[in-house]
């Protein structure tokens, strides 16, 4: 016991915060956005993030309050169904796992609108989504479908491609 006690006194620490998976997902949306190149013709005053069927509670508001992405103030939109998306102008759409059964309909609805899609739905990238979030051994991993990204006239910076797994769409 004494040996353990002495060892502990030698401890000097820095941050190794342990967040919930949901908080990781919420945080990573903004981090990833910095590596996406939007080629929109119209310029908007805000960077719009839309959360479908909000799974994060108040976490998103807390994280992105007074934050800027791409030089613009971040604006969060919450929608319950994909039909409501037309009321907002969106740069990023987060689709939660609860929408798995509606995924194809959601992707069809937003096709051609230049929206970067992020989800934790299993097989999301292979099903035509852009960035899939998943966890292996408590660490968050990224899976990117580059074809889907390019189809929407978006680009991903090479830095992100180096740290994410790039996959092809599965032909059903």
């Amino acid at each position: 016991m004494k040996r353990l006690f002495i060892l502990l006194l030698l401890v000097v620490t820095t941050l190794n915060a342990s967040f919930s998976e949901d908080k990781f997902k919420a945080m990573i949306i903004g981090k990833v956005a910095k590596y996406v190149v939007w080629n929109k013709k119209e310029s908007t005053p805000y960077f719009n993030i839309t959360i479908l069927n909000n799974p994060f509670g108040s976490t998103i508001d807390t994280i992105y309050h007074n934050k800027r992405i791409d030089g613009k103030e971040v604006k969060i939109h919450y929608i319950d169904t994909i039909d409501q998306l037309t009321q907002t102008q969106s740069d990023i759409l987060y689709i939660p796992n609860s929408q798995a059964s509606q995924l194809q309909n959601i992707l069809d609805t937003i096709k051609g609108k230049g929206i970067f899609t992020i989800s934790d739905i299993r097989g999301f990238a292979q099903k035509g989504g852009m960035l899939q979030l998943y966890f292996i051994s408590r660490k968050i991993k990224l899976k990117i479908n580059l074809e889907s990204v390019k189809e929407e006239n978006l680009n991903i910076r090479s830095t992100l491609l180096r740290i994410a797994k790039v996959i092809k769409e599965e032909n059903e």
Binding site: L4, L8, T14, L15, N16, E21, F24
Partner: protein, 756 residues
Amino acid sequence: MNSMLIPFFCIIFLSSLHAQNNSVDDLSLEDMLDMETELTADVGSRSGAVSSLYSLSPTDVVTAQEIQHTGITSLTDLLRYFVAGFNAPETSVADGSDHIRAFTLRGMSPDQVLVLINGKRVHTSALLHVNGTIGRGSSGVDLDTIALSAIEKIEVLRDGAAAQYGSDAISGVINIILKGAEHTDEVSFHAGQRKKGDGRELAADLFVTKQLAYDGFVNFTLQIKQQEQTQRAGKDRRNNAPDYETHVGIPDATNIVALLNSDSELGNGANIYSHFTFNYRESEASTFARVKTAAYPKGFLPILQADITDIGLTVGAKGEIQNGYYWDISNTLGYNHIRYSMRDTYNYDLNPSPSSFYNGTLSFLQNTTNLDMKKHFNTIDIAFGLEHRIENYTIKAGDENSYFKSGSQGFSGYRKENEVDATRNSDAIYFDVKNKFSETFSMQGALRYENYSDFGSTTTAKMALSYFVLENFFLRSSASTGFRAPSLSQSHYSHTSTFNGLIEGTFKPSDEVARLYGAKDLKAEKSKHFTVGGVYQFNDENSLSLDYFYTYINDRIILSNEYELTPSEQNMYGINKVRFFTNAVDTRTSGIDIKYNLDHKFSQNATLKWSLWYNYSKNRVVSFNDNTTTRKNSFEQIDRMENGQPKESFKSILSYQYNKVTTTLNTSYVGGYRQVIDDVAYSFDAQWYTDLDISYSVTKDFHIALGALNLFDTIPNKWDSLDGYTYGYNGIKPYSRYSPYGYSGAYYYLRTNYRF
């Protein structure tokens, strides 16, 4: 107890002073990809994984990364390594109990722990521990049927949960989660031996994964392990002592484990999943050596061989139907089969006698079919379901020579009259609701009705509450009722042999002679549980939890005392002594768990993780339910339940990773315990054990490690003042079979691991 707690709290206080918080805004994407999420657990919640720290009932998680740095190759040993209050002695000269180790949580019985794989019930072993070991009178799960290399994490729920999972979830629930998608192919080797040069162990593990479309996978794991016996017997001082030494130590065993785990998408959001486990084990251990006689001038050493086959198969499908209802239908089949045989032994009543015998088989089959439904409404999660289970238990007799008259020496075979083929079924319906009333207050309720074809029905309930007093201070409490159905083995097991022309042994409770001595049909053990505790999170790196637990068990089943029949009864039945299973006692278990976790990241590729865990569990027999069992006439059995296992245990697991080197130091303390011989209780001292593993990453995918389990070769003290020829400080068995860490001493190993 206080002597342990004062330094414990000093450590926690001082370490918490050092922590500091930085802003998450400072984190880069690369930083985030390198960080670990909080630990989550599925067990105890039907609404999906929840934070293990802030769970409604105390829950612990052991991860694959932690497992990898232990140098342990057996799941039983692994849980003993990580979980304070988990006890799994290494017994010897105890027949079947040498080959399938009994384990307990909080000093309760092995059959009062429910084990799940991927949330599905695991069948128990066919073995009924009937010798004087820890776990006597119970059939527990054989944990060594699962290879560690297949495991993603292990969740341990420290609370009664029969209202959620049904029978057996009394002292806790162990949920083993197998590796899923996106893992890497891996091969590993392990070689080691005891300090004394014996107990050599060789193990090879292979993990191969095949990715399927849409994050589906098929994972295959194979483990082959060979374990050599250890020998720690004392001198045989009996008259006409044999030329052979009784083996006192761990047995010789060859263990082959194969696992498959798969999940693939069916379309329309539905998935089909399965997991399959297969284990074949050949294990050999000696019984007491037989002294020299005229017929056997050298004496002989009977060797009991147990060939164990264990199979588990779960197949299921899950998905979502309209309106957000999730469904999950599955079938789990489990089968355990033990074939006993003897070699190097004789039957004194046969002339000439063969030297090897087939002694019979035990088998247990369990098939569980589940339908689970769940839905999320705003702040409310509801779940409900149905379960149907069929169980079958059989005993088949050995060859006649193995039980003729005195039978094969060391272990007589199962006789024709011991044969049994018993089946029962049960149906259950259950409902579970969890409501998050506010950001700070949550409540969970569960209700389960279950009907068994043999002993009738039971209804159990659970309620749990949690409240965040502060953002970092959390209180929780639960109250529940539970039950454990008498196992088929307890109701139907018999094993008898002949001495001096009269039969004696274990009889079924339904046997006419057992009834003479008060045996009745077994009924379920009923339990009441209460926990209260809290979690204080100093900051993102330091947390402290303290939980009090209380469990009262009515009608606990024990193997009765051995009753000697009167001469007239002996003449009438041809039976000399009888023992049987009976709902004899009520017991009370209470105690506390205190846990502290520290998770630091230094600059420059260095990480420190430290977990401290103190457990105090006190077991007490508080009531005797029949006229035949009393504290006086069953002193050995009662004392084993109350004092046979350490009341205190403490663990400090420290892991420091710097660049390519990871050092893991585990220091364990187990309190004292007692064993009764001939109605006298002998005490054994508390002990400290230290394990050390130092691993070096040669490349990103190739690791090599050296380590030691019980580094300082701690050996329990011998019997104090007992000087018998068999049990005694100077006898054949100088140590107690209850010793929580055995008595084989230090074990040194080398292990390698390659990902490809």
